[in-house]
């Protein structure tokens, strides 16, 4: 047996890649090139040799800073480009051919130019804004003045009323009197005005402040400005209000001017004389048109500069990002004693060593270095990182496993089995070939548009769907398969594989649920007979079949998990784990639930009427009693007693020996009894380099080990029951799914169809399709997915998977691209 296993071909997929710890000694002149070639290759994970140094004490800190500065400039360009609204076209990506130093100068020039242009435009825009505001103030204020004069000629009363109305909340009688007195002399006496423009959002507070400061001795006129002013810095449009304040007195003027300043209100002088006003307006208008032309030219120039930058932007961004990554990696390297070489250490998969050496040779050659890069393998105390080579298809499954925990180095990888078992268990819960076809179409669409979608940035939900497209594909195919077995198509049974095996007893029974049917020919060839649908015994029949199936699947999967633990123990050479953990566990599980599975199969094959609950329960309660009518095969009772004894023996077997043997090994090793060790425990020691090494590192604490083993055993014994029960979720969810779809089909669609009304039918159809899409296809998919996930993580992987490794993170340019943003 063991020989057979040893002679099996090596299963590369099952375990992570073999890694080796390598040391590179790179001459300083070719270091940069070597690292960038390695980055393109992406198969070496560098180990940080300067952990104790803070980032700015490292060797290449200046280059990193320069890269940071350059990426800041690039961000500035990008920002400017989006602000200017230039649509960036997809440029064919070229291999960056510019040197970093060159680029730095270029970027600095561009930035300088852009900033200069910006300040120019800003200045122009500011003057332009001022003129524009002036024009609007002239326009509106002229109207105020004009109407003011009219008012005076027509009648003072109305104006007074207005001003009272506008301020009637705040005004007190004293100031009202004052106002009355003053307004009489409006033209001749000291009433003066200030006009200007202020932001719309501030106008209420502004008015209130003016009112308070002048104690109500003022008149505030306002009108919304016609155009919105573009802020020169933020490019946002502000709505503004033109105002005109009438007041008297010198002190009030200084106060009002101060308030204007505080509110960022720009004041403009408006001549009272009408002809003068027209003259000023004309002047302003002519200057405005001049300025507009200059401004336009300036903006055109700026846009041109920006689009020329935009042309190269992506290329530059990639280049800078790569350079920064290279220098960050270089910072992880150490200088050797002579200061002429850089020393780097890291992990790489063994298959990649030749590729890495090639890349290093190329780097040496390209940089005309006299000394080649020295590349050699070293020993490392740390455990190596875990690296699985995946493709589009297996990646999603590996992710599912990694989400629980990254495999320990060289541990057997559950993802291999997950590829099939995961979608299958999902489908057991989601068995409906109609829904399966919907999922299949969805996943096929995602796969067909793979090349297009993979480049785009998707939302988080779509990203998830797209990432799991192959999982979805397999899930849908298995759902169709399971749906055919359950014979459900949106809960409707079909006669696909020939006619039903049952028929009515006589011609009087119209459908299946009135009286019993009789079997008149061979069983339905594939899946559930369609005649079960709607019959009184449909649920008991389906429940029984699905429950038993769940147990069988569960026991099979748990056994697979335990076999994997055997392979792990073999691989890591720990015979202790096989003898005192794997074997008793196998015996325990299979003598109870393996036996149950056997009974199920026998019952299915013989068509016996035995009650399995009864058999199982009384196997524990009174094993010696006669089984009676529930006997399935000859010799069942003695077999049960033997199995029960095995199970009882297995518990102390998995609990006690291991910690005691570990203790013995430990004491032998550390009491200087090396002579004895040669003879007695040589095999054990050689077989268990792992545990021996662990003892070196930490003090052996017997009570801790024992408690640990106790927890482990109890967990397994209790888990054997609860995990088997946990697989019943397969039945429960499949039941829920089929019942839900029956409800939607019968209570919504068929009910609506029974009316002879087009609208009701339409509504029924709409409700049915929404319910199918959102509840059955989305919610149910999600819940079945989660339950399948749980079965894999807890019930399956719990049997063998440690999941405490570290993922292999090679230094690679390809993984850089989405890092930022």
């Amino acid at each position: 047996m063991e020989e057979f296993i040893d002679n099996l071909p090596p299963m590369d997929l099952m375990r992570s890649e073999k890694m080796s710890y390598v040391q590179l000694i790179i001459p300083a002149e070719s270091a940069h090139r070597a690292i960038s070639y390695l980055g393109e290759l992406g198969l070496l994970q560098f180990h940080d040799l300067n952990v104790e140094k803070s980032p700015f004490q490292r060797t290449f800190v200046n280059q990193v800073k320069r890269c940071g500065e350059m990426s800041r400039k690039l961000r500035f360009f990008k920002d400017q480009i989006t602000k200017a609204g230039i649509v960036s076209l997809e440029h064919p990506f070229m291999q960056p051919d510019v040197e970093l130093e060159e680029l730095e100068i270029q970027l600095a020039e561009h930035e300088h130019e852009l900033i200069e242009l910006n300040t120019n435009t800003e200045r122009l825009q500011k003057t332009y804004n001022e003129l524009l505001e002036f024009r609007m103030v002239l326009d509106k204020a002229g109207r105020f003045l004009f109407s003011e004069k009219n008012h005076h000629t027509i009648g003072e009363d109305r104006e007074l009323e207005e001003s009272v109305n506008s301020n009637h909340e705040f005004i007190d009688t004293a100031s009202l009197l004052e106002k009355e007195l003053r307004s009489g002399f409006s033209e001749q006496s000291g009433v003066r005005f200030i006009s200007g423009i202020v932001c719309k959002s501030k106008v209420v507070r502004f008015e209130r402040m003016l009112f308070r400061a002048t104690r109500g001795n003022m008149l505030f006129n306002q009108a919304p400005a016609d155009e919105e002013i573009v802020d020169p810095v933020t490019f946002e449009k502000d709505a503004k209000i033109v105002f005109m304040v009438f007041f008297s007195g010198e002190q009030a003027k200084t106060k009002i001017l101060k308030i204007c300043e505080a509110f960022c209100a720009n004041c403009y002088p408006v001549p009272e004389d009408l002809t003068k006003q027209h003259q000023v307006t004309r002047e302003v208008l002519s200057r405005l048109s001049d300025l507009e032309a200059t401004l336009d030219a300036g903006i055109r120039h700026r846009n041109k500069a920006l689009s020329s930058i935009d042309y190269n932007l992506t290329k530059w961004v990639t280049l800078v990002r790569r350079e920064k990554a290279v220098y960050d990696t270089l910072n992880m390297l150490n200088f050797d004693v002579t200061k002429k070489c850089l020393v780097g250490e890291g992990w790489c998969p063994i298959f990649a060593t030749t590729k890495i050496q090639e890349a290093l040779q190329r780097a040496t050659y390209d940089s005309n270095s006299l000394v080649g890069v020295i590349f050699h393998v070293m020993d490392s105390v740390e455990s190596p990182p875990t690296y699985f080579r995946t493709n589009h298809f297996t990646n999603a499954f590996q992710e599912i496993v990694d989400a629980y925990g990254v495999a320990r180095y060289q541990e057997s990888n559950p993802a291999v089995y997950t590829v099939i078992t995961f979608p299958f268990l999902f489908a057991v819960m989601f068995g409906d070939w109609g829904h399966g076809i919907c999922l299949l179409i969805g996943s096929l669409i995602l796969i067909a548009r793979e090349s297009k979608l993979s480049k785009k940035k998707l939302g988080s939900f779509m990203e998830m769907l797209f990432g799991g497209r192959y999982v979805l594909l397999l899930m849908s195919i298995f759902s169709i398969y399971c749906g055919l077995i359950y014979n459900e198509f949106f809960s409707v049974p079909f006669h696909i594989f020939g006619g039903s095996a049952y028929r009515c007893r006589d011609a009087t029974c119209s459908n299946a649920d009135t009286v019993g049917l009789v079997k008149y020919r061979d069983p339905y060839p594939f899946g559930v007979d369609p005649s079960w649908r709607g019959s009184r015994s449909e649920l008991p029949f389906l429940n029984s079949i699905k429950m038993k199936m769940s147990i069988l699947l569960g026991v099979a999967q748990m056994n697979l998990g335990m076999f994997l633990s055997y392979f792990n123990a073999r691989f890591f050479g720990s015979s202790l784990d096989i003898r005192y953990q794997f074997i008793p566990q196998m015996i325990f599980l299979n003598s109870l639930f393996g036996y149950l599975s056997l009974l199920i199969i026998i019952k299915w094959c013989t068509g016996s009427q035995a009650d399995l609950y009864h058999v199982m329960i009384y196997m524990f309660l009174s094993p010696t009693d006669n089984i009676g009518e529930n006997e399935l095969f000859w010799g069942q009772r003695p077999l049960q007693i033997i199995l029960l004894l095995f199970a009882l023996v297995a518990v102390p077997w998995m609990l006690f020996p291991k910690p005691f043997i570990l203790k013995k090994l430990h004491t032998e090793r550390f009491q200087g009894s090396t002579y004895g060790m040669l003879g007695t425990s040589e095999i054990d020691l050689e077989v268990e380099p792992d545990s021996a090494r662990a003892q070196h590192h930490e003090d052996f604490n017997f009570s801790e080990v024992f408690v640990h083993q106790m927890i482990h055993s109890i967990e397994f014994v209790l888990g054997a029951v609860s995990n088997t029960a946990s697989y019943l979720r397969l039945w429960a969810l499949s039941l829920a799914h089929s019942e839900l779809s029956t409800v939607f089909y019968e209570k919504v669609l068929l009910l609506a169809w029974s009316y002879d009304n087009f609208i009701i039918r339409l509504v029924g159809l709409a409700v049915f399709s929404f319910a199918t899409a959102f509840i059955l296809l989305m919610m149910e998919t999600l819940s079945a997915f989660l339950h399948a996930l749980r079965l894999h993580w807890v019930e399956f992987q719990g049997k063998f998977y440690h999941g405490d490794g570290q993922k292999f993170k090679p230094f690679s340019f390809a993984s850089l691209t989405d890092d930022e943003d």
Binding site: P55, R72, M209, A262, F263
Partner: protein
């Protein structure tokens, strides 16, 4: 109600408490400070900070950095966090959060008024104001000539209005007046905040009364030390003391008549919590007092996080961040002016 917060606190306060505890986890640690203290240039500081939560705020700053930019950006981060918390908060937490910023408002009012008194440009002054203490029409403060106008024109709209009742006078503003105004306002503010926290009850009241008492006592000591040798009378000095705290009332009476720092010390050493602070100082020295008080405050603030279901964590977090920004400012100044030997003088490690 004490003891029952666990039942209901999380209905409204749970989310924000989680947020604030998350923010607290991003405070710079002693190892961060050690690294920062080793920086050679301001760019190094920026580089180090870019690995922390301050990164996004500093990354777009062009290279010749100034201390002011660093401080400004760090403050901006605090303000952003404060604002987002305020947006999420419901009563009474939102009022509590509002209270936190009144102190900055008072400082800003004083800053602007003093500035205009010395004929500084208003815009320039506005830039110096703490952004947390900004309110509408703060710029209009420059118009006012005396306290009465100040109140009537601007402050009547602000939450500070009730605190003004004691200092409305028609006297023209001068430095002395303003300083008295600041302390009167602060006194009223602290007392109000104290009352508010007492009203909230529970762990909030318990912890906040401790923190606010400490704050009040610190102000009492500062007022006393600063007013030694000025023309402020004993009664006036006594009036500026907040009417709560560990020193109230007997300590106040003793402090009100102090004539030099050693008398202050003698008065303070009767109170065990302050004895440890004063025991760190040598006789006649008051320079290091600020740092000693800050250290004590940070210790107390950190302790508030040990208890759950109360609002004091928000207060503590804001204070700790401010302390952190003060630290960063000091470090940046020292680095910028090549005074690295003094870098440890005023940095208060938070963790």
């Amino acid at each position: 109600m004490y003891g029952f917060e666990a039942l209901t606190f999380n209905i409204h306060g749970g989310y924000l408490e989680a947020i604030v505890r998350g923010h607290r986890a991003s405070l710079l640690t002693a190892s961060d400070y050690n690294n920062l203290c080793q920086c050679e240039t301001l760019d190094d500081i920026k580089m180090h900070l870019s690995a922390t939560e301050y990164g996004p705020y500093l990354q777009n700053e062009p290279s010749p950095l100034h201390t002011t930019t660093i401080v400004e950006k760090c403050t901006l981060k605090l303000v952003d966090e404060y604002k987002s918390m305020l947006c999420q908060a419901t009563e009474p937490l939102s009022t509590f959060l509002e209270y936190i910023r009144y102190g900055h408002m008072i400082d800003n009012v004083v800053l602007i008024v003093t500035g205009t008194l010395h004929e500084r440009d208003v815009q320039e002054l506005l830039e110096k104001c703490h952004p947390l203490g900004m309110f509408d029409s703060i710029a209009t403060l420059a118009v006012a000539q005396n306290m009465r106008e100040l109140y009537r024109l601007v402050l009547v709209d602000t939450p500070l209005a009730p605190y003004f009742s004691e200092c409305i006078s028609s006297e023209d503003l001068d430095d002395m007046n303003i300083e008295i105004m600041r302390n009167t306002l602060y006194k009223a503010y602290l007392e109000d905040f104290y009352r508010f926290c007492q009203k909230l009850g529970g762990a909030t009241a318990e912890i906040m009364s401790d923190l606010l008492s400490f704050e009040a006592d610190r102000r009492v000591v500062n007022i006393t030390i600063n007013s030694i040798g000025t023309e402020l009378t004993r009664d006036d000095r006594r009036k500026l003391y907040s009417n709560f705290g560990l020193l109230y009332p007997y300590g106040h009476e003793e402090l009100a008549i102090c004539e030099d720092i050693d008398q202050v010390r003698a008065a303070m050493e009767k109170y065990p919590p302050y004895q440890s602070i004063f025991s760190k100082l040598s006789y006649g020295e008051s320079q290091m007092l600020d740092k000693a008080f800050y250290e004590e405050e940070v210790k107390r603030l950190c302790l508030t996080f040990e208890q759950q279901f109360h609002y004091a964590v928000f207060f503590a977090y804001m204070r700790l961040r401010e302390q952190e920004i003060r630290n960063l400012m000091w470090i940046s100044e020292c680095v910028g002016q090549n005074q690295k030997s003094r870098v440890h003088d005023s940095v208060v490690f938070i963790f």
